[in-house]
């Protein structure tokens, strides 16, 4: 079965600094990969997804992620964070098979220093 590991529970960066959130997955074939963001008490917003093709994917709010098969990773990056980026970020994986579920990582809470 597929699984996701987000090794960092909390990350703190200064406003304007670059950001990288780590995500590793476990799945035998090429997975479908997602990053979601959740503000406190809010729902899940899809930032970006990777299904196939170009391994560098662009998302909303200036985020990007790179799929690296050799490292089983799908790290999320942003060149310059804004205070409004403070939130919980979830990496998720699916097999892409019909009706298959999405499996979420435990999340990384991003804190922004002014």
């Amino acid at each position: 079965a597929q699984s996701v590991t987000q090794p960092d529970i909390h990350i703190t960066v200064s406003e304007g600094a670059s950001l990288e959130l780590r995500c590793n997955y476990s799945y035998g074939a090429t997975p479908y990969l997602f990053w979601y963001v959740q503000s406190p008490g809010q729902g899940l917003q899809l930032l970006l997804k990777y299904f196939s093709g170009d391994t560098l994917v662009q998302g909303i709010k200036g985020f990007e992620a790179e799929f690296k098969r050799s490292q089983s990773s799908f790290n999320l990056r942003k060149p310059s964070v804004h205070w409004s980026d403070a939130a919980e970020y979830f990496c998720a994986v699916a097999t892409g098979n019909r009706d298959d579920k999405i499996i979420f990582g435990k999340g990384t809470r991003l804190h922004i220093l002014p």
Binding site: Y32, G43, F51, F90, A94, R98, D99, F104, G107
Partner: protein, 112 residues
């Protein structure tokens, strides 16, 4: 843009009571899901539903839970006898193919 709609946004219920959480999936979607997120924890899969039957359920989805698509538009999650530990955010999701699910904004269930 089409979206998944969940009602109510917040529900408070007494322990032992039955609750029904409602969802209106995106209209042309065929696959439906419920997920749960206990406060401060990760989002966990509960159940998937396709062609009017459960496709898969997690170990969390025990006999107190049930799902139903009572008409062509709604998808419901029923919890028969709520426990304190059922307090969580419940997310509904739907998909055309299963490759990408669209999530609703969630229903926060508080059991007191």
């Amino acid at each position: 843009e089409p979206e998944v709609t969940q009602t109510p946004s917040h529900q408070v219920t007494q322990m032992g009571q039955e609750v029904i959480l409602r969802c209106v999936p995106i209209s042309n979607h065929l696959y439906f899901y419920w997920y749960r997120q206990i406060l401060g924890q990760k989002v966990e899969f509960l159940v998937s539903f396709y062609n009017n039957e459960i496709s898969e359920k997690s170990e969390i989805f025990d006999d107190q839970f049930s799902v139903e698509r009572p008409d062509g538009s709604n998808f419901t999650l029923k919890i028969r006898s709520t426990k304190l530990e059922d307090s969580a955010m419940y997310f509904c999701a739907s998909s055309t193919t299963g490759a990408e699910a669209f999530f609703g904004q969630g229903t926060r269930l508080t059991v007191v």
